[in-house]
Symmetry: C2
Subunit: 189 residues, 2 copies
Amino acid sequence: MAIAAKDILKAHIEKTAVLNEAEFDYVCSHFKPQSFKKGQAIITEGDLVDNEYFVISGCLKSFFINDDLKMFILQFAMSTWWVSDYNALYNRTKATVNLDCITDAEILCLSNSDREKLCKELHPIEHFFRWRTNKGYVAAQKRLLSFMNNNVKERYEELLKLYPELYNMVPKKLIAAYLGVSRETLSRL
Amino acid sequence: MAIAAKDILKAHIEKTAVLNEAEFDYVCSHFKPQSFKKGQAIITEGDLVDNEYFVISGCLKSFFINDDLKMFILQFAMSTWWVSDYNALYNRTKATVNLDCITDAEILCLSNSDREKLCKELHPIEHFFRWRTNKGYVAAQKRLLSFMNNNVKERYEELLKLYPELYNMVPKKLIAAYLGVSRETLSRL
């Protein structure tokens, strides 16, 4: 693993868990670095999903296509974000969402079995992953509430707060697909 | 704590974590039994939230009221479900959702600090709570996807699968508030 990637992962984990150098090196040895090109698919609907992904650089999107062929974006993922189809990953079912790259991306890949092994062997890593998911759960609840409330302007402001660098990074039509509005509605905001 | 409540909590935790009798008794000693009456409020918007709730019997709902005074139900919670305003609980902010009782209810209450203490002291409990939240995260993602897809019939079928006993337990207008549709639309399904 490149030094830069290792430093990013280390700083990220150390926000939640305390590990010594040897433990961190051991944790690191379970992450596989991967490079992806802009547009490349990582997970496609129907795939069996065995990995989750920690983004070092670049921007990914997880999305699904509804019955009317309309695209919805569930999540953008940039540096230090985690992403996968967690339903498929945890429940060993087939993917219902897609994951691909909006830009070229450097990623660290962790398998389901390696995460469970690390959590079992190292209590601080179990603590780290519990809080990682706690935060994801709260973000998903917030997103659901704002969908129910259906205030597009608020959703847009929340998005910019969540991903300040996004506006210059991805096409506007993808921002519209995250908000669940048309490109025209977005222009009016 | 009543024997019945203790048995329900034990069976629930043992699905995910292995504890010996002394450890389980120690865990139990941090849960406070509480009885609530039908209609009673447990969390009200604006409250500081310091507890999460494990339902022994009865049925709760977490909900919010939008700017147009329309009620949306985020979650029903019945026996063996966990519920709180997790955003407020984890981030030490004020509640944005409400929690009250659809029926009389028996609940076990666990404080934020006791959960963290137990997770630190007992690795299996940290494991249990990680998987508890993993499941909640996946459920929230699924709910979000079905909202985006906006297929009310599918949402209704998912609801009956998730809570088979619900249909006879709660007024139809609350089911409509969970689905985000009018009482009339629900009647047509």
